[in-house]
Each structure stands twice: as C-alpha cells, then as structure tokens.
Amino acid sequence: MQPAVTLRVTRYRPEQESEPTLATYEVPYRKDWVVLDALNYIKDTLDGSLSFRWSCRMGVCGSCGMKVNGSPKLTCASFLSDSLPGPIRVEPLDYFPVVRDLVVDMSDFMRKLKKVKPWIIRHDERPLAEGEYLQTPDQLDAYKQFSMCINCMLCYSACPIYGLEPSFIGPAAIALAQRYNMDSRDEGAPERLEILSEHDGIWQCTFVGECTKVCPKHVDPAGAIQQYKLTGAIHWLKSLLLPRGAR
C-alpha cells in the first residue's frame, strides 16, 4: 500500500493574488479516505488557510462539490483509492465564479431556483381537516427521481452550455420544475412552462447530456429537460390546433 498521496489543489486568495495558483500537498494515504478527508487533513495539520465547503460527509447535503482530476465530483464520495497513484488534482467547480480557493459562488442558482417556482401550486387548497392528497406509489414514482436533487451544482459545472450562456436556467433548476410538474398534487405546470419556454429556459439545452452523467443522485436532469421540451412542443401544437377554450 502506498504511504502517501500528492494533492494538487487550486488556491485563490483574492486579497493576495489576482489569479488562481496551484499548491501541492502531501497527505498520508488511507484506504478509507475520501478526497474530503485529505482536504481536512491539509486544513488541520498543513495549512489552516485552505477554504472549502463541506458538511454531512455522506453525500446528501450537496456542499462539497469540486473538480477531482478534471470531473465534477462530491469530494465526500470520491475515494483516494480511486485516483491512485496520484497526484490528485482538486479544483473549484467550472463555470461558477470562484470566491476563494475551492469555494464558488452559487447565488445565481438560488435565483434561478426561485424563478421556476419549485413549490406546489393549486387553484384551491384542500383544508388540512380533509386529510392528505391521495397519491399512489405509481404517481409518486412519476416525479420521485427528479425530487432527489441535492443542489450540488455538479451538473452545472458539467454543462458547457451553462458555461457559454450563464443566463441558461440550467439542468437542476429545470429538473426541479419538472419534479413539481409531474407531481399529481400540483397544478402549476402551465405557469412554469410559460417561464421555461422563455429564451433562457429549456430550449437553450442542446442535450449535451453530461449533466446526467455527473449527477451523483441519478436525477437525470438531461431527461427532465428533453421531456419538458416534448411537453412544450405538444403544448404549442395544441395551442395551434385547438380553439382557445379547449387547451
């Protein structure tokens, strides 16, 4: 077993430098360690000034997304043992502005998420006293996959279209819109379609498909977007062929 592994980590300290630089650290190799453990080792013992986000260390909070050896990954779910013998390159996620070291700014996504209205929209609310909305396991299954998104931003940093066109609403936000559209309790699909057929919405996506490949939670945003396009197109056809009232 190899005793140590080298990490090449992007540093960016806006107070000292105007461009990112590369730092090299040597950390002990442990079979059970993920890249995040190695980063924590660096922070605890080698360099306290290295900044990165993390929290759950179990792949569910979505904080620790970074580029590991060139592809977007959750660092708490990427084992050192998968990248031997090293050196392992750790960089901030692509296409987001870098705030510091491995921390990127994701406020853009937060604005977009709100824009797609990710909440249940109904014409009239059912009073709580009447109990739950019924929803069969099959109906649940229709949107379940899209509800698994942990907002980790890996898909954005894999999507070249987002890189080229930062106004693109992007994979996760569209998948979440679709999550509500497909929910049998929701009646907001027309409103969301209105928003997502705008210039920055679904039609920007050229089905690169990388978003789905890097998604750690198998959300399949690429699928969500294509299905959404089909819905949008069918809706368009209907509005063309049917009289107003029948839509």
Binding site: P160, S197, H199, A233, W236
Partner: protein, 116 residues
Amino acid sequence: MPRSITPFLWLLFSAGGTVAALLFPIHILLTGLAVPLGWVNAPSYESVLGLVRNPVARLYLFVFVSLPLFHWAHRFRYTLYDGLQVKHLTALIVVFCYGTALAGTVMAAYLLWTIP
C-alpha cells in the same frame, strides 16, 4: 428567434432526427456504397422512376429530404453558436441554416411534383 416558433423548429428537428436515424444508414449504404462499389446491381433508371411515380414513394421522399434538412439546420445552428462562440452572428446563422433547409424542402417539393 421569436419564442413561439422555437417549439416548432424543435419538433422538426426531432422528427428529422428520427427519420435520419431510422432510414439514412440503409439508404447511404445502398446508394452511396453498395451500388457504386458493385456489391449489388444498380436498379435500372426505369425501375427507379417507376418507384418514384408511386404517390406514397413521393411522400416518403419528401419527408426523407426535408425533415432531415431541418434536423441539420437546428443542430448546426447551435454547433456554430457554441462551438465557435459566435453569438453575435445569430441572425446570419439562423437565416443561413433554416433558409437552406427551407430551400431544400421547396426544391424537393418541386422536383417530386414535376417528375413525370
């Protein structure tokens, strides 16, 4: 691009993509390779003409040419935008791509109409 027409163009793109995926390989194989290389004997002029006279075949050929052209127009347009990052030429690219597809479609209709 007016927003209302995008879904329509996408439908054409998808339909064209499906037509191309299902039918183009065999046609290219036959017309472009098997016949020229003599793997099979070329169908005679008359038999081809006879085939094309059939109204179903005419419709088939119309779809066969026009939809895939729109498929190309759509894809190529985005490839130009993204691959070369020439967003500023949007209008030009749009006119070129969809214009070509439209021209091809008109030509196909004309030819199929005029073939005796």
